[in-house]
């Protein structure tokens, strides 16, 4: 995916993410206002989820990051917590998966930055992309 056309602030955020947290993170799709950012190594809480405890998924990041918030994640398999409780916002085979369906994305979780577990940290600069990874992990832990 050609990232040179992405807005400068988002390009900077991706550079920071790769340099400091996830070297192999990649942009798999750009649709309207959103990129589908593949995160190869997201930590799952051992007390709440079965193995593997490191999984990959996509998070939808706005092209206007950090002036707009991430919205939704997409996974290849349902999250399926150990206790089997249904996860709110789970939409199997939702249209939002379409841009990464050919890569296996099929489970959409329509989580917003200001969801039920409280608002994520305010986003002000490209470095805040690191907080997005923590938000994804926290959101999965508390789902």
């Amino acid at each position: 995916m050609d990232e040179s056309q992405l807005p400068a602030l988002l390009q900077e955020a991706l550079q920071i993410l790769r340099a400091e947290r996830m070297e192999k993170a990649r942009v798999d799709a750009i649709i309207d206002n959103w990129i589908y950012l593949w995160l190869p190594d997201v930590a799952f809480d051992e007390t709440k989820y079965p193995p593997p405890y490191s999984r990959s998924l996509w998070v939808r990041i706005p092209l206007q990051f950090p002036f707009a918030n991430p919205h939704g994640i997409i996974t290849a398999e349902p999250l399926n917590p150990i206790d089997g409780h249904p996860i709110r916002g789970h939409n199997p085979n939702h249209d939002m998966c379409a841009p990464v369906r050919n890569l296996g994305g099929s489970q959409y979780y329509s989580w917003t930055w200001s969801g039920e577990i409280g608002t994520g940290p305010s986003l002000r600069n490209p470095r805040d992309i690191l907080g997005v990874i923590s938000w994804v992990e926290r959101r999965i832990r508390q789902a």
Binding site: P7, A8, L9, D32, N33, W34, P62, L63, Q64, F67, A68, N69, H71, R88, G89, H90, N91, H94, D95, M96, S110, W111, T112, W113, S114, G115, E116, T119, S122, L123, R124
Partner: protein
Amino acid sequence: MGREKNQTGLKELHLVITKQLQDEALSYLFRQDDQSSFLPERGFLGVIHSGGGVLRRSLFLRRIIPQQEGWVTWTNHGLSFDPAYFSRALDAVSESALGAGLIIVHSHPGLGGSINTPPRPSKPDLYHERTLLYHLSHALPPGSPVAAGIVDCSGAWRICEYHWPRPATAKEARSKRFGINSASHSDASAIRIVSSDALTVYHYGRKTSIEADAKTVDSTLRLWGSLGQQILGNLRVGIAGLGGVGSILAEFLARLGIGELVLVDFDIVKEENLNRLVGVRREELGKPKIKYAARICRQASTAAPFKVRTFRGSVSERDGLKHLLDADIIMNAADSAFVRQVLDHVSYAYAIPVIDGGTTLVVGARHGETIGKSQTGEAGPGQPCLECTGAYTQEEATLAREDPSTVGPSSYVQMIGQEAGEEPPRAPSVISYNGLVAALMVQRLLSTVLGLPPKGKRGQQRYYVELGELNWGPTIQCKEGCPKQSWVGLGDSHPVPVGVDPLWKKMRQQKEANGS
């Protein structure tokens, strides 16, 4: 040296400066301690940014670069700038956001005429500014703006921007085609001075004739006089959204004598709009709202000449926004957090005051009662931003970027009581509340451009539907950590968060499918 069209191809050039910087510039150039009858010329270097709309390019003076004693000296041979000052200026540009450039400003003491008439450069002025700027432009990154300014003691500015073509090869660099005389240049036709409670636009060489229509504006002339009427006649106001509020606004402004309106909206007139679009005709059903609004404005206008420009598009997309970047002041009547966020950024980066308004009505929310509020606010240099005053949140602006059909009932943005597969209900809209909001927005504009009451007010003005009370909101400055005031005058260097408007995209797709 005659006027030429500059390389940007835009017809107008404005200088934009905050009142605070204007005062700082005048204190640099005209000192109280100058006792001699022969007043020296003074000067400074400043960091500028640029930004363009469809017709107008603006230069924004961002900061005056501090100088040490002896860096700018007045001698028998004229004003001299020390190389150390230029070196400091180039450092200041490299410390600034990408796209920064430089302006060389000097004073013409004792020659103050009218603030509406720019000082005239002397032949040595023209020679020196061209020479200095040629060398500076080659020391700056390609594309950096360079300009020269002269200020007289009335506070009038003469601004000239230069563009030199950049040679691609060493051979070209030696060619006359890239020499000092290869510059194109353009003179500023206006200066806009923006402060927390006022917008002052000085147009050079433009005068709106109101005599022919004096009878039609007689009642307002009694209030603000012919000077006030001329200010309105010289003003270009942008309106985002020509629905219930925007269409009333457009007519109000045309009747008041605003000289030019720029209308941007993508929607069409539908049956459900007939109860609130003032003056709309049934035969206009299915036509773009901008066309109907432009017709009303032309019929209603009292300014001579009067212009109305329309663009069918969304302000949250780059092409729609560009039209509003030509405006001196923007009225937002688009009920979209995405648009509010975009215009919030614009109000600071481009120093264009944005007056925002809207109404939220909730039917049966409390004991079956209708509650809600109409609110207006103004963003721009020195004013609290729309986000900090609660006109929108970043989350609302985020979700407004989604295709409404994909933000389905199983997401957290599902409306309370909404069933799966159900279309989100239309927000209630009543012409009387729209009229109230439009009136408050126009009062705010008159306060900003003419100094009418309420003066010096900041933040939101709110009408509480259930109480019938009009109050001011509690927020009068941006919250701690809000960066927007630091964006003032960044122009195109600031990444305004435009994107794809999902509603307009859907309508475009339908248009294409229908072949219309």
